[in-house]
C-alpha cells in the first residue's frame, strides 16, 4: 500500500482556501488586469496581507515554512486567476527571495526578506541577457572583486518584476571564459541617492501575462558590499541554481495545468451552448475528440507534476523527471489552448471572449524554466546515453 495518490484532508482544505481567495480577489479583475498591462499595486497589497508571499520561508522571518506539495497546490490554484499576477507572485515567493533566504546574513534577511514577505519590497532574479538565457554559460554580466565588495557591469533582460523591483539576485560571471564555473549570485538593490545599485532599462510589452511587468536591469560599474555575495564559495552559482530549478519547473508546470484547465472549462461551456447545424457543437465527434485528448493529457500531466513535487519533498533526485514533467505539461497546455481557439471558431479571434487570453498567456510557459528545444536536446541525450 505504498502508492497513494490522495491529498490529505488538510491539503484539500488549503486548496479550497487558496481557490476561494483567488475567486474573490483576482477572478473578477482578470480581464482588466490583462487590458491595463500595469502592475496591480492594490491587488498586490491585498494579496500580500493574506501572507501567501512567505509560504516557503522560515516562520521567524514571517513565513510559513510550508511543504513542497502544498506549495504546488498553491501555485496551481493561483494560476487559475491571472497568469501575469501569478508570475509576479511566484517570482517573489520562490526565485526572487530563495538565495536571500539561503545565503543572506541576518542584516540582509531583516532588511530585504522580511519586507519582501510582507510585500513591501519587490524582488526578482536575473539570468537572461541578450545572448544568454537557457545557455547560462554565455552569461557576460561581469563581477569584479574590489576592496570591500564587488563591481558589477552588465545588462539583464526579460526580468519579471524588473521595472518595479527593489532588489535582485543577479547571476554574473567572474570571467566569461570560465563558462559555468565562473558564475555566482549577487544581491543588487535599486540605485538610490545614497546607495549604488541597478537602474531600470527598457520595459517590454508582452503578448501575454501582461500585468506582470517585465524589463531590463542595467548595472554600470555598480558597487555592492561583500555581504551581498550570495554563496559559500566562488564558482558554485550553477550548482546553487540547480537547487531551485526542480521547483521552478514543477511550478511552471502548475501554471500550465491551471491555464489549460481554465481554458478547457471555458470551451466546454461554449461547446455545450454554441449551436451549429441544429446541435450544440459538443455533439460533434471532432469537437469531442479535442476534449478527450485534452482530458487524457491533462490527467497524465497533473499526476506526473505531483509525483515530482512528492519527489522534491522527499529529497529524491528528480532533475530529469522535473524537466520531463515541465515539458509534458506545457506541451499539453499548448495543445489545450490551440484546440480551444478552434472550438471557439471565429470568436476566438476577438477580445470579447477569454480564450485568446489563455492562448497568449500560455505561450510564455514554453520559455520559462528552459526552452523546450534546450530541454529536449538534453533529455534526448540522456535517454540515448550519448
Amino acid at each position: 500500500m505504498a502508492l497513494d495518490f490522495t491529498f490529505t484532508e488538510e491539503q484539500e482544505f488549503f486548496r479550497q482556501m487558496v481557490r476561494d481567495a483567488v475567486n474573490r480577489l483576482i477572478m473578477p479583475r482578470v480581464k482588466e488586469l490583462d487590458e491595463k498591462e500595469e502592475f496591480p499595486w492594490d491587488l498586490w497589497k491585498e494579496f500580500a496581507a493574506l501572507g501567501y508571499l512567505g509560504l516557503r520561508h522560515e516562520e521567524k522571518y514571517g513565513g510559513m515554512g510550508i511543504d513542497t506539495i502544498t506549495q504546488m497546490i498553491f501555485y496551481e490554484e493561483l494560476a487559475r486567476g491571472s497568469c501575469g499576477f501569478s508570475m509576479s507572485a511566484t517570482m517573489q515567493i520562490l526565485m526572487g527571495t530563495y538565495f536571500i533566504a539561503r545565503f543572506g546574513n541576518e542584516n540582509i534577511k531583516q532588511r530585504i526578506l522580511v519586507p519582501a514577505i510582507k510585500g513591501e519590497k519587490i524582488g526578482t532574479i536575473c539570468f537572461t541577457e541578450d545572448q544568454s538565457g537557457s545557455d547560462l554559460a554565455g552569461t557576460r554580466t561581469l563581477a569584479t572583486k574590489v576592496d570591500g565588495g564587488w563591481r558589477i557591469n552588465g545588462r539583464k533582460q526579460w526580468i519579471t518584476n524588473g521595472p518595479i523591483a527593489d532588489f535582485a539576485t543577479v547571476m554574473a560571471t567572474i570571467d566569461p571564459k570560465m563558462g559555468l564555473k565562473g558564475l555566482n549570485f549577487y544581491l543588487v538593490e535599486r540605485k538610490t541617492a545614497d546607495r549604488d545599485g541597478f537602474v531600470s532599462g527598457q520595459r517590454l510589452h508582452k503578448l501575454g501575462s501582461r500585468c506582470s511587468v517585465t524589463g531590463e536591469l542595467v548595472m554600470d560599474n555598480t558597487f555592492i558590499p561583500d555581504e551581498n555575495f550570495l554563496g559559500e564559495e566562488i564558482g558554485k552559482g550553477v550548482q546553487y541554481a540547480g537547487e531551485i530549478l526542480n521547483e521552478v519547473r514543477v511550478m511552471t508546470g502548475m501554471n500550465a495545468l491551471a491555464i489549460a484547465k481554465e481554458a478547457m472549462e471555458d470551451a466546454r461551456q461554449y461547446a455545450n451552448n454554441r449551436v451549429a447545424f441544429g446541435n450544440p457543437i459538443s455533439k460533434y465527434q471532432l469537437i469531442r475528440e479535442k476534449f478527450a485528448k485534452f482530458w487524457a493529457w491533462y490527467e497524465a500531466s497533473r499526476t506526473f507534476l505531483y509525483k515530482c513535487a512528492w519527489m522534491i519533498q522527499n529529497k529524491i533526485p528528480c532533475i530529469n523527471e522535473c524537466m520531463l514533467a515541465k515539458y509534458h505539461s506545457t506541451e499539453m497546455c499548448m495543445y489545450a489552448v490551440e484546440e480551444c481557439m478552434r472550438i471557439y471558431g471565429g470568436n476566438a479571434f476577438c477580445s470579447e471572449y477569454p480564450v485568446q487570453r489563455f492562448w497568449r498567456d500560455a505561450k510564455f510557459l514554453l520559455y520559462g524554466g528552459g526552452t523546450h528545444e534546450v530541454l529536449c536536446d538534453y533529455l534526448g541525450r540522456i535517454y540515448c546515453k550519448e
Binding site: 484539500e12 488549503f14 479550497q16 482556501m17 496581507a49 449551436v275 446541435n279
Partner: protein, 260 residues
C-alpha cells in the same frame, strides 16, 4: 461576549448532483462552507473585536469538518463537531434539537447562523434552536447594532420596499443575510492553524440524547421523491426569411415559451 456560530458544509454549486433514487441524491464530492454561515462567522468576529470574548463554531456532521476549519481560518477561537452514527438521516428539526441540547448549558450571549443552508434551503435550524432554547430570534438580519451587550440592541431586516428595525436583549439568536458584512478572506497563518486544528467531538450520549430523538426515526419531514430539473428542450431553427422569421420568433416567444 460568548458567541456561538452554527455552520454547515454544503455541496459546491459547481458539484454534479444526480437523482440516484426516489429518496436519494448522488452528490459529487465538492463541498464548501455555506456562504450565509460565513457572514455569521464574520459578524461574530466583528463583535469579538469590539467587546472581546470568544467565538465558537459549531456543526452537526459525521464526516465533513471543513466549515469548522474555515471558522478557525477566519479567526474563531474554538470548533465543536457534534457527531454520532445515529444522526444519519436527521431532518432540520432533529439537527436543531441536537444543537439546542449542546447549547442549553453553555453560558452564551449570542448565537449566530446563516439565513439558510444553500443545499436544502430549509432555513429551519436557526429559528428551531432559538425556540428550543426559549430565546428571542430574528431571521435574515442585514444590520446589527450593539453598543452594550447588557442593554437593548437593534437589528435590521430588509422588508418589501424598505427596512425593519427591531430590538431585543441578549441572549438571542440571529440568522444572517447577505449585506450584513463582507466575510474576510482568511490569512494563510490562520489557514495553517485551521489545517492542524483538532476539532472537539461531542456525541449524542454527552448531550443526553439517544437514537430515537434524532436520525431517521425522529424525522418530521420525509422526502417523498426527488425529481431532476426538466431537460432543456431541443433548439428550434426558424427557416423563414426576414421579416417572416421575426414574426415567427415573436409568435413562438408568446405562445410556446410564454416569456413575452
Amino acid at each position: 461576549m460568548d458567541i456561538y456560530v452554527l455552520v454547515k458544509q454544503v455541496p459546491d454549486p459547481e458539484a454534479n448532483v444526480k437523482v440516484k433514487s426516489d429518496v436519494e441524491l448522488e452528490i459529487e464530492n465538492k463541498y464548501f462552507t455555506n456562504f450565509f454561515d460565513e457572514i455569521a462567522i464574520e459578524a461574530g468576529l466583528k463583535l469579538r473585536e469590539k467587546f472581546g470574548g470568544k467565538v465558537t463554531v459549531l456543526t452537526v456532521d459525521n464526516k465533513k469538518v471543513d466549515a469548522l476549519r474555515r471558522g478557525i481560518a477566519m479567526g474563531a477561537d474554538d470548533a465543536i463537531q457534534i457527531t454520532d452514527p445515529a444522526l444519519e438521516g436527521s431532518d432540520p428539526f432533529a439537527i436543531a434539537k441536537t444543537l439546542a441540547a449542546y447549547l442549553k448549558d453553555k453560558p452564551f450571549d449570542l448565537i449566530l447562523a446563516g439565513r439558510q443552508a444553500m443545499d436544502d434551503d430549509a432555513g429551519i435550524v436557526g429559528p428551531g434552536v432559538a425556540e428550543l432554547l426559549g430565546i428571542p430570534h430574528v431571521n435574515m438580519i442585514v444590520g446589527l447594532e450593539i453598543d452594550d451587550p447588557k442593554k437593548e440592541l437593534k437589528v435590521v431586516r430588509e422588508v418589501e420596499g424598505g427596512k425593519e428595525i427591531l430590538s431585543c436583549f441578549l441572549p438571542a439568536l440571529f440568522t444572517c443575510q447577505k449585506g450584513l458584512n463582507n466575510p474576510r478572506i482568511p490569512q494563510v497563518m490562520n489557514v495553517m492553524k485551521a489545517m492542524k486544528a483538532q476539532m472537539k467531538k461531542v456525541d449524542l450520549a454527552a448531550l443526553g440524547l439517544s437514537a430515537v430523538d434524532v436520525g431517521g426515526q425522529a424525522v418530521k419531514i420525509k422526502v417523498q421523491k426527488y425529481l431532476p430539473p426538466p431537460k432543456r428542450p431541443p433548439v428550434k431553427m426558424i427557416k423563414e426569411d426576414f421579416p417572416e422569421n421575426v414574426k415567427q420568433l415573436v409568435k413562438l416567444l408568446k405562445e410556446e415559451a410564454k416569456v413575452i
